[in-house]
Symmetry: C2
Subunit: 178 residues, 2 copies
Amino acid sequence: MSKVDKEAIIRAAEDVVRENGARKLTLDAVANRCGLSKGGLLHHYGSKQALLQAMLQSVVARESELANAYLDCNDQPGGLLVSRIQTLFAMMEEPAGLPRSLIAAVAEDPALLEPIKNQEERIRNKVCDDSSDPEMALLLLCAARGIFFGRVLGVVEEDAPLFRRLRERLLKLAQDLD
Amino acid sequence: MSKVDKEAIIRAAEDVVRENGARKLTLDAVANRCGLSKGGLLHHYGSKQALLQAMLQSVVARESELANAYLDCNDQPGGLLVSRIQTLFAMMEEPAGLPRSLIAAVAEDPALLEPIKNQEERIRNKVCDDSSDPEMALLLLCAARGIFFGRVLGVVEEDAPLFRRLRERLLKLAQDLD
DNA sequence: GATACCATACCGTCCAGCCGGTCTTTTTTG
DNA sequence: CAAAAAAGACCGGCTGGACGGTATGGTATC
């Protein structure tokens, strides 16, 4: 039993990235954020790379979790695409700058994205297999991801009512596809 | 007339980012890359921020240039969307890690993305105004941008024949929209 | 000789990782 | 069960290198 569990450290790191930018993601900052010394932090994660890997894995896990939850509500054929789109929208609504870990990671070392690349590919394949029109399914998925990345990078405002409408339209098209 | 013009410096910076990652975009690295001392580099761009701004502005300019060229070939109504989609695909075919400057910039200081955010918004508005079905136009644009960002971040492979097909499908849908 | 262009040397700061040591918890052993 | 020993958790200081930026001086061109 530890006073500060490893999950809390990852949360702290995400907080730092969200509040101060990816460049300021430093071991000291993370340590201070979760009331730990740098030595203590390095005791849990042996290096900064290890911490970043854990952050990414956490994102991957969170996405899978959400996707499975949504899938249970959409178990008609073609529901996989719908649940994935819902997942992407849900992740960008969350207050956590959770996916911004992506930026910190890719800035540090693009090779860290390997697991995410693999997950993306698996998702694409499954969505294609699940649809009668794989190309169109992929296209809708890409659209959702385009909106997602736009928000992650901060090149698009959040208040836009445009999002609700795009979301509805996307989901409608996805559902009419099965 | 200077031995190394400012454009060459930006190219060098892009090369560094592409080859060594955004985190390794350092003044020394850029200077070495284009056969210049750090002092010489700082003579042209007074600070690292200034260099990053110039890099981003270069991307913006390049995108506009491409878009205008494509627009001349698609001057039917609704051709704006088509040209924008073509532009995005063209930019990711280019050997330059040009758009990866985005990552370097957002890691350093997210505020640097302001001009890009504005440009994105202008494009969105114009595309919407130009189409009879604004939502669908936006959706197609987002799809193209999703593919674009996927490539920029490196979460998707390039060899995939999937891209040709998605590109064709996207362009077809965009053309049938006008 | 003034201005643009560029090199060298240097400074202050930041930061990842290391290390010795302390305190606590668990395991081993008599 | 109690004492000893080992393992785990954590701290704080330190260092060596990297990095952004400055200061100074040299060279070429007009």
